[in-house]
């Protein structure tokens, strides 16, 4: 009976792709018209530029970077650093958030420290981190960490501190220990909101990864943008920029989908809190 109800609920939802097409095709009209307009203006006029390129040339450049594999390599490098930073920072953020949220004493002791470190822009410490780690994944991941730790830490902390007191009473009466309480009550109850922090962190991780690559780190898509710019090849540059937009959109869409899958029926209440 229960299975049938749940299956029915999922069956009613159409597939991801068909939903996308059905909902979004009208929204694509305006940008497509704009693209056509830009193309016509740039091709018919005697327009010369080192910083702009008509859409057709961008498409050709995109085809080229896909074929020579440089787009794939760059994507792997950028996403590798972003997801690596997200994984490490996420774990640190959840652990610290649980500790802070469970104990008011720890929270008071640490929050000033956290709030004073948090506002430092990651770009500001690029020189320091570069000195410490040199170029490569390590410096990039290290720079991503603050951006991933803090949103998750703050969401986790407030969700944990707001755990339904009745549930904590229940667990105490049953004789669940500290670890059991954290793993079976506190974290599952906080999970929907931790995930909101996770989504914020994922977006920031990508931003910081690309920023680092544009500014110093000679790898990934950010570096590809810089190289194209210096070669006066705006078409390739825009091809990568557009690809980054698609990656960012896809990352968020994947996380939203995960959020629905994980917390759809049972976690709805937790997400509202």
């Amino acid at each position: 009976m229960a299975d049938a109800a749940i299956a029915g609920a999922t069956r009613r939802r159409p597939g991801f792709a068909s939903r996308l097409v059905r909902r979004d095709w009208r929204g694509a009209v305006a940008p497509l018209l704009l693209l056509a307009f830009v193309e016509i203006v740039m091709d018919t006029g005697s327009y010369q530029s080192d910083s702009l390129a008509p859409p057709s040339q961008i498409a050709v450049a995109a085809y080229r970077v896909v074929l020579d594999g440089s787009l794939l390599t760059g994507t792997i490098e950028t996403l590798g650093a972003a997801l690596g930073g997200l994984a490490i920072g996420g774990m640190i953020g959840v652990v610290l958030g649980v500790l802070f949220g469970m104990s008011r004493a720890v929270d008071r002791l640490m929050m000033v420290t956290v709030e004073s470190i948090r506002p430092i822009p990651s770009a500001a410490i690029i020189p320091v981190v570069l000195l410490a780690f040199g170029f490569g994944y390590r410096m990039e991941i290290f720079l991503i960490l603050p951006g991933t730790i803090f949103p998750i830490l703050i969401f986790t902390r407030s969700a944990v501190a707001g755990t339904e007191p009745c549930l904590l009473d229940v667990s105490r009466l049953m004789g669940l220990g500290y670890i059991g309480r954290v793993l079976k009550i506190v974290v599952p109850a906080a999970l929907p909101r931790i995930f909101v922090g996770f989504r914020l962190s994922a977006a920031l991780a990508l931003v910081i990864a690309v920023t680092t690559e544009v500014v110093v780190n000679p790898q990934g898509l950010g570096s590809a943008i810089m190289v194209s710019e210096q070669k006066l090849d705006p078409a390739s540059m825009y091809a990568v920029v557009i690809w980054l937009g698609i990656i960012g959109w896809g990352l968020n869409a994947a996380l939203v989908w995960m959020q629905r899958r994980l917390f759809g029926p049972a976690g709805a209440r937790g997400a509202e809190q």
């Binding site: 009976m1 299975d3 009466l173 004789g175 669940l176 599952p188 049972a266």
Partner: protein, 268 residues
């Protein structure tokens, strides 16, 4: 040693057992405000004691003290000769608000399982116990449903099953049926009567419903607010099992209802 003349050691029910729960001149003050004052009360083993009174009279606090969730600021709360402390699994507490007491991310099965997990039972040994418990509260077919997919009465049944999983010697119930509709409430009253008789658990049942208290209890304690204290108590000499139609029509039932009504009205 005994305070006041309230504690009656004699009993009208057969098989008199020793007192298992004892409140010794208990007081509780929070932030300079007295919540409870001079509460002395003993409960016999296997007794079904109902506590009644207007809201704010500290009847829920009585249960929280016994469960060890709150420490008294005066006097002692003893269970089986020991000071009340949380984490003793032979005391189970059932909450009024099932929307807060059940884990929304776990199914009925998972919620009952939690109590057994806390006891350290292995997964394989849990399954049969959970299904037996769910079956005993009529929820075997709803095992895989989440609390949000169950009615209020069903959710309270899940809570009952979870409490029973602890195999409690004492069952503390905090207005468990207060949020349910009349028909569901009556069905659950009869269920809990049967469960109490079968398990021989000591039950402390908090309610604000006079008839519920008389219908279920071996004894009814009436409380008064500001500060919370015990006003009076009545032995309920009605035959068991109580009957949904006949019991409320007995002269004794009507007499008790009138007497309790006067007490509660005075307290307001």
């Amino acid at each position: 040693m005994q305070h006041g003349g309230r504690v009656r050691e004699e009993s009208t029910s057969p098989g008199v057992a020793a007192p298992i729960i004892r409140f010794d001149d208990v007081g509780l003050a929070l932030g300079g405000q007295a919540i409870l004052e001079n509460v002395s009360l003993t409960v016999r083993k296997g007794e079904f004691l109902c506590v009644i009174g207007p809201s704010g009279c500290g009847k829920t606090t009585l249960l929280r003290l016994l469960a060890g969730l709150v420490e008294p600021t005066a006097g002692r709360v003893l269970y089986d000769g020991e000071r009340a402390a949380p984490g003793r699994r032979d005391i189970a507490l059932m909450f009024q608000d099932y929307t807060k007491a059940l884990l929304p991310w776990r199914t009925a099965y998972g919620n009952v399982s939690l109590a057994l997990e806390a006891m350290g039972k292995t997964k394989s040994s849990r399954h049969d116990i959970i299904m037996t418990l769910l079956d005993s509260v009529g929820l075997a077919r709803e095992a895989d449903r989440y609390p949000s997919q169950l009615s209020g009465g069903m959710q309270q049944r899940v809570q009952i099953a979870r409490c029973l999983a602890q195999e409690p010697a004492a069952l503390l119930m905090d207005e468990p049926f207060g949020a349910l509709d009349a028909i569901t409430r009556q069905a659950l009253q009869d269920d809990i009567q049967e469960i109490a008789a079968r398990s021989n658990a000591t039950v402390l049942f908090v309610t604000h419903d006079l008839e519920e208290a008389i219908y279920l209890g071996d004894r009814v304690v009436a409380m008064r607010p500001h500060p919370g204290r015990i006003a009076t108590e009545f032995e309920i000499g009605l035959d068991r099992p109580r009957d949904r139609l006949r019991t409320p029509e007995e002269p004794e039932f009507l007499r008790l209802r009138r007497a309790l009504f006067d007490v509660v009205k005075e307290g307001r």
